[in-house]
């Protein structure tokens, strides 16, 4: 049962549901419904929602409550641009401590990715793709940077929900393997370049500039074509 989860556990459950698109951008998160679902008071739920809000996973509007954040086009670009700047920069730091054990661990993760892909388990696939990036960053000896990257990965999941094509999420299982191989063979510069291109590719796969549901042209949408 869900009974008597602590705040951290509630936080993780909600976050997971959002990252895996079970709770899509824009979804309302009413305090009393969640309170009932988790068997805790609204106080605890509010605490969790406020945390998610500070991490920009959720937005809280005064007197209107919490919703899953729906990133704007600008936010999407800023987040991807940040990742394009930062993640390649961390590669050399990661490679300093790169070991056989690391390689094995990440190859196992890629296998899971492949399985999720085979089973068309979209939720698991999204989760694993993000995990790959932030666990890699966590191998650098700078947890301040790693935590920031992790947050950007979670936010990227929202971006994909809003602006992603099918291509955005499933394209790069093969690609991730390439990186591991470059790391194994100590090719710093190539690994760094790979990461940059990988992220640029993800960014370019987004359907930016399509004004997703914000200002719909009803004239065009319902034009009489009979």
């Amino acid at each position: 049962m869900n009974n008597m989860l602590n705040d951290e556990a509630i936080y993780k459950k909600i976050l997971k549901s959002i990252v895996e698109h079970q709770l899509p951008p824009g979804a309302r998160l009413p305090e009393d419904k969640l309170s009932e679902a988790f068997g805790r008071s609204r106080t605890s739920i509010r605490k969790v929602l406020q945390r998610l809000a500070l991490e920009r996973i959720v937005t809280i509007e005064p007197n209107k409550g919490a919703h899953v954040n729906r990133p704007s086009e600008q936010e999407a670009q800023e987040i991807l641009d940040s990742r394009i700047m930062l993640e390649p920069l961390l590669i050399p730091e990661v490679m300093k401590y790169w070991s056989k054990a690391n390689s094995k661990y990440f190859r196992a993760m890629l296998k899971e990715e492949k399985e999720a892909e085979a089973n068309e388990d979209q939720a698991a696939l999204i989760q694993l793709t993000a995990q790959f990036h932030y666990e890699l960053a966590a191998l650098s000896d700078n947890s301040v940077m790693a935590d920031f990257i992790q947050q950007l990965c979670y936010r990227s999941s929202l971006i994909i929900a809003v602006f992603g094509s099918r291509h955005s999420v499933s394209c790069d299982c093969g690609d991730h393997l390439e990186l591991i191989e470059l790391m194994d063979s100590q090719q710093d510069k190539k690994a760094q370049d790979w990461m940059k291109h990988h992220l640029v590719h993800i960014k370019s796969s987004l359907k930016l500039g399509v004004s997703d549901g914000q200002k719909i042209n009803f004239q065009q949408l319902f034009a009489n074509t009979e």
Copy 2:
């Protein structure tokens, strides 16, 4: 009067006091005392403290409440290393939009810094030094990065409180002016290098490796020297 400040205002007041070292690292932040001081219920105060905790300005230990964060040596290094990585990277972005108006604004800020220095107003000096860095970052067209830098600047203020020499805080009023002049004359590369050296200099001015009160060698300290 302080009566009826909203949460944001309370947050800013507490943050300011911490950044300016009125509330030093390690200081307790009891909910009921703050609640009384601001004329609001503990609920509001808790919300603010939890926000500060997520921003790593404050630490909250279960059943022990909130204290102003006392950064470890490792945390200090990670934060400074992050700034050394990131702030020079943002300089080109900032320079794209650099204008006469910006120059004027920042020169005015430097004037305030000088005044604070002349009046030996340590609090104002610390605040202005941090402000210089994060307002500069805010000129880049990436608010995600700018917000992160801002947080690192606030955390740096804690680092200086713990590991800083007098030198750390007051050394670089003249220096900041040099940067503005490089920006005015569009010397991208030099401005970038300057920023890196500036931050490296700040880092090296810290008294790291002195184990500040953590694990004192009493044997050595009270060795009989008579």
